[in-house]
Symmetry: C2
Subunit: 526 residues, 2 copies
């Protein structure tokens, strides 16, 4: 933000990011990933205060955590400071913060040695105060020990006065920043308006038009995704992101734009390294900061590594965009470790996540249009490795409703429901069955959540209760699909781990063929 907006003599972005973390945080792998990348990027404005009390829930850190954390952070390229008496020495902490700020080319870790439950005679320094209250007697003993003479909920006057100093200090800081911004506005009115726009999370007029040319294309949805990303990058300067070391597979590079590196913070192409969970956490932080519209990418199956971050996107109500390619067994040779089976189902089961699996160019455009416009729910966009046809019946407007009729049939005998690459199979199967005299409707259902957002009348129109003969086709687990196919329907999916073989062979051997869709439909029709 500073690299983009600040001008000589006008520093409107100039703040620090503080992290407060404990022993448990330093044991979690996601922290290692983020910390390593922060060191690489020389994030001098990142300051972490490590409350090192040597206690986690089970007891002393001697049980499981005896590494030298400071040395580890130094190995990551951080500036490390120690405050040995963090219980009482506020001056030492303030001094360390000043030293941290003085080092501008490295993030800083303050290892602050503290006592958990400081002041409690019986429980200080023990896991007993980690998650449970002290209890009445120990509260009394702690008050005595700390010479705290006040009754519960009494705030002493001098403490109140001290805290209230923050009001004036905050007002001053705000006034100063407002003056800075006013100067910026006068000198750079367009940039100031843009700054206000992105900080408010408003999209520019007519941004969606940039996606229009993509609707005509015909290639794999990951390449269509690349076209969308690059089209959006042109009209949304706040749009930025990257891949967890799979840029050339995920097709996520914003062409002609610099990388985000220590020497180029204006860059918009992020290199997250092989750090999926860290990437997800960083995307959440960027989105919560404001002024940025971030995306991150990896293979769909590796959503597992960062599921906790995707869940937090949803819980935190931020519209992070997850670009997930290689979305089925058709990725082929990499085999079962890389082939998603349950991945899409487990993301659909998660509240407030838009899981979108477009079938072609028009639906890919719709997926991005929704993901960009939706700023409260994260989107997981699932793209193929293999090429797909741009199908006649699809539409941007239809796909935006999550589910819609692609091949119409009044009073259908059968409804075929499909997503992504399987929509083509469904339309071909429908053509064969129609020739046999059946009234077969095809419904594309790229995003269940958007479909469920629609009024009941619309959903009934697309999937009328009167037609119970239904077949769903998706190259993933059948889990969850019975909601739409009901008791009399069938699901063509894959409920076992995949196999290593060329993609088209996997596809055929696991039953994703027009013939199998037709045969299953005939069975359901009875």
């Amino acid at each position: 933000m500073a690299a983009r907006f600040n001008k000589p003599g006008h520093k409107i972005v100039d703040h620090y990011t503080y992290v407060i973390l404990g022993d448990g945080c330093n044991m979690e792998g996601v922290a290692s990933e983020a910390v390593s990348l922060a060191g690489h990027l020389k994030l001098g404005k990142l300051i972490a205060l490590y409350d090192s009390n040597h206690i986690s829930i089970d007891g002393s850190t001697d049980l499981a955590f005896t590494e030298d954390v400071g040395k580890r952070y130094e190995a990551y390229g951080w500036h490390v400071l120690h405050v040995p008496d963090g219980d009482t020495n506020l001056e030492a902490i303030a001094q360390a913060l000043a030293e941290a700020k003085a080092v501008v080319d490295k993030p800083s870790l303050l290892v602050i040695t503290t006592t958990i439950g400081y002041g409690s005679p019986k429980k200080a320094g023990s896991e007993k105060v980690h998650g449970a209250p002290l209890g009445g007697d120990e509260v009394t003993a702690t008050r005595q020990n700390l010479n705290w003479a006040y009754d519960p909920f009494v705030v002493p006057e001098d403490a109140l006065a001290h805290f209230r100093k923050a009001i004036a200090r905050g007002a001053e800081a705000e006034t100063a920043w407002n003056a800075t911004f006013a100067g910026y506005q006068a000198a750079y009115p367009a940039e100031a308006a843009e700054f206000e726009r992105v900080m408010a999370g408003r999209l520019p007029e007519n941004w969606e038009a940039a996606l229009q040319p993509v609707t005509e294309m015909e290639k794999s949805t990951r390449l269509l995704s690349e076209a969308c990303l690059n089209a959006l990058a042109g009209v949304l300067p706040e749009f930025l992101g990257g891949s967890a070391d799979l840029a050339h597979s995920n097709m996520t590079f914003l062409k002609g734009l610099p990388e985000f590196q220590a020497s180029s913070y204006e860059g918009r192409n992020f290199r997250f390294g092989v750090r999926e969970h860290g990437m997800g956490a960083i995307l959440n932080g960027m989105a919560l900061h404001g002024g940025l519209l971030p995306y991150g990418a990896t293979f769909l199956v590796f959503a597992d590594y960062m599921k906790a971050a995707i869940r937090l996107s949803a819980l935190s109500q931020v519209g992070v965009i997850y670009v997930m390619t290689h979305d089925s067994i058709v990725l082929g040779e990499d085999g079962p470790t890389h082939q998603p089976i349950e991945t899409i189902a487990s993301l659909r089961a998660t509240p407030d996540v838009l899981v979108n699996r477009p079938a072609d160019a028009k639906e890919t455009v719709a997926a991005y249009a929704v993901a960009i416009a939706e700023r409260k729910r994260p989107s997981v966009l699932c793209f193929t490795r293999q090429g797909v046809k741009n199908l006649p019946g699809t539409s941007v407007a239809g796909a935006k409703q999550g589910g819609y009729v692609v091949v119409p049939a009044e009073n259908p005998d059968l409804i075929l429901i499909a997503t992504g690459s399987e929509l083509e199979l469904a339309t071909k199967a429908a053509a064969i069955l129609t020739e046999e005299g059946k009234a077969v409707r095809v419904v594309s259902m790229p995003c269940w959540e958007l479909f469920e957002d629609q009024p009941a009348a619309y959903r009934e129109e697309v999937l009328p209760a009167s037609c119970r003969k239904r077949v769903a086709v998706e190259a993933g687990t059948t889990f969850g699909w019975h909601k739409y196919v009901g008791s009399e329907g069938a699901v063509i999916g894959i409920d076992r781990f995949g196999a290593s073989a060329p993609g088209p062979i996997c596809y055929e051997k696991f039953g994703f063929t027009v013939d199998n869709v037709v045969a299953t439909a005939r069975q359901v029709l009875g």
Copy 2:
């Protein structure tokens, strides 16, 4: 294994564990977790060979990974060695391995600097050889460059002779070990038989009887789980494990047994630290080693952190046991970040994972009995924080079938299906509806996968197709349940994130009451 079986003068367990890893591995958080714990545990027999070629899929590690890996490992307490010329200097690698073995109280990392695609004139040292073949011309150029005069698939005589030396060397080692073991057998026949038993993965006679007393108990299923774990520990010396810093919440401590620490490798209580993904990976390694039957524990919602490891348990066909407590919103105050919603569904969607959510003591015993006996599929056992009743209709034998009738009704008007803590609600609702003259059957379905393993006739007997009025109750997402309730049924679940409040209040506010089950059933009955 060495601490358990070796005797003075009889070293039957005496091998090293080697890891080969690359730059990408060192970026992943799971490696940080495992490496930190290995350092803490002073695993002197663990030797990691780090193929440091400074290339990952996207290009040079300069893009995203510039930390000092060796220094980081030293911070974890590892012994770190450098081999600067790993392309050709085999003697230096052998020498480093010897040095690694000489340090017995630390795991060793050999940082071996190499060139990816060594020998290829145009592609050596570049990401172009990471995942793609060299191509015909470059293969020819590489052969020339390396003075490799042989045709494709020709193995030169001297290379063959060199490799074949391994046959004699291996035979010698085997003969030596067999002699050692014969001596052990003569001196310690019982221990030798026990060693052979655990290495073959055979369970002792009558082990399941140890669980019998638990069937009479009445408390939270996490406490019932504790009783099972401790009962099993008494009869299965190979059974061991621990928690990711939640031993007192997960109730997983094996009482009276020592901890597994650097000073007590005979211990069976593991302290994994706040390292869920690392824990899962370590459990897989232990299970694949053989001779051990490992379990690991955390809160159910944190399955997200180690989902990739659970998936690998299934793919690797190892019966790792995941003990997951606090299995619903009823955990209460910790709130939405700790309350599983989609967790059970996403594990059920994963192939070859037994997800078991027992309702009471008998079903908890069944869950453990199956998890122990099943050595090819991992089990995820889901336990309550809150107390549960030991219900009259439940049985160990029934629960082992995954789904079974708990409250019978011939030709039922309605079937209520429930798992875990909600089974009590279902039985109470059934009693009320029965009084109203309805024939209501209650089916307990603790483990879908075991139910699906049963013959079709049994499944039809439990859930007859003729009865389409069905209501499922589970304190988690409704996702997936339509498979069993069909088009005319209903699911009582929770399809949003939870809330922070005392457990019973969460339970009631989200509709998990007998009244709501009865009302929903009446609606379904029409």
